[in-house]
Symmetry: C2
Subunit: 290 residues, 2 copies
């Protein structure tokens, strides 16, 4: 990161502001500029020490930066990429923190003059809280970060982006945008859809008075921000549809075990799921062990 003398963070919410705080805590001594739609948000991030300067105009800051981190909702990427296209220079590397990657990489390829210097990232960290006041220097610590370089990605751009995330102590995972989107559909987007649907099924039939901690945990993710999740589902339609079809096959199989009274198969499934999950939980480390 030595050649990166200025970083512009587009969006100073939880993730953007935590990037700034974390970089500072890790000893990064370049300049940190933060931009936000609402001036008071970037101002607050500056007061909290997340950035050195709160700005509003992207192009002038991008011209002076070697790295731009896009940390805004997916539905607001397009004008930002258009603005970056105007300010592009051959030392500029661009990354983002969006939860889906194929759509974003396609947009970058379409809108940027040098898509080889765009590297999609998905730092898998977050919190139920929002805004710069929720920022933490250690938010990304030890969490996985997926980067999605493509065959034509500039190796120097990739090195800069990976160095950003390792400075924030993340565990790097490389995969194609398609693979990323399929994986997160299975472990995040499909579970979110089912949690919302399970909750509405129970609510519709007035079954909630009997629900307790198990149901609370199963459906916790359904309390996530609906606009964030709309962005995720609409930028990952195909992979979510595939995962819905996959779980449909599994529920049909489960249903057949019940109708056919195939109790051996049912016990085998329940036992395997428990064992696989118990083994996985051990890999999460002591704090997350339950």
């Amino acid at each position: 990161m030595d050649h990166v003398r200025q970083i512009t963070i587009v969006g100073t919410g939880l993730l953007g502001a935590s990037c700034g705080l974390g970089l500072r805590a890790a000893g990064y001594n370049g300049r940190l500029v933060g931009l936000s739609r609402r001036p008071q948000t970037a101002q607050r991030a500056k007061e909290l020490g997340c950035i050195d300067e709160a700005g509003t105009e992207l192009a002038p800051h991008a011209r002076l930066s070697q790295l731009v981190i896009i940390a805004i909702p997916l539905r607001r990427y397009e004008p930002v990429l258009q603005e970056l296209a105007k300010a592009d220079h051959d030392q500029l590397v661009i990354t983002d923190v969006g939860s889906t990657k194929q759509h974003v990489c396609d947009q970058a390829r379409q809108l940027l003059p040098a898509p080889a210097r765009f590297v999609g990232s998905h730092p898998m960290a977050g919190s139920e809280q929002h805004g710069p006041d929720a920022a933490r220097a250690d938010l990304f610590n030890a969490k996985p970060c997926v980067t999605t370089p493509q065959p034509d990605t500039d190796p120097n751009a990739l090195a800069t982006v990976e160095s950003l995330w390792t400075t924030l102590k993340m565990r790097l995972v490389q995969m194609s945008p398609q693979d990323h989107d399929r994986q997160v559909a299975r472990i995040s987007h499909l579970p979110h859809a089912l949690a919302s649907l399970l909750f509405e099924l129970a609510a519709k039939h007035n079954s909630l008075p009997l629900a307790s901690t198990g149901f609370r945990d199963t459906t916790r993710v359904a309390s996530g921000d609906p606009t964030v999740w709309l962005d995720i589902f609409t930028t990952n339609r195909q992979a979510v549809i595939e995962s819905l079809d996959a779980i449909d096959q599994h529920t049909a199989q489960f249903r057949r075990m019940l109708t056919d009274q195939d109790d051996d198969a049912l016990l085998e499934l329940l036992t395997r799921a428990k064992q696989d999950r118990d083994n996985w939980i051990k890999t999460l480390g002591p704090q997350k062990n339950s």
Copy 2:
């Protein structure tokens, strides 16, 4: 509970032993007998003060009891009900703590000479832990307890059983065995099936390295005891099948929103689920608020 001079608890695991401890803590001063398949389990419950006497033979103790609480896995009810049939007397009230009720009520009607004195119960309390060492006097405190009286249930038997659970400070809910089984299918059995299937889908496709706390919580229940859950699914086949069909319709609708690009309907669904869940969470009280 004044006329109940002796209670026999069949099964001194977590639930049975907690009944004993809780009754004693609430000032019940009748005799508490606990039975277990493995003599050391009842012996341990006695050492812990959950019961006064550890026994093995059911019939002699049932003859001297006014209340029998069946607190063993569902698959082992049949011989216990047959034994109770031999020891029946007109002051004997029988209840249980099983997680499904139609199957149990049918068994009682078939096997007991006076099914009117059997009242099915489902105290909705538990823990991931097992055995008398995990017992707590306050396990049932403030939790819902469903009783499933039938049209021919003896009102005195119902009063005795309800008095047992209110002594343990439970919130009583009355419903038919069928209604109970449909409700718990929606808020517990279906979510359990989906958690197991989601986990196996992610494991099969090697998606677990990207999974984190959201997926951990969504699938937590899949780590439950497989034999306990086999009992639940096999004694509640019809209601679970109905709930699988219901969620199938909902996932098909969700899939259509994605393929038809009906983003307004998608946002409405996500918003409604979040609002309904946030409202429900408020009803759970401060400790369970998340």
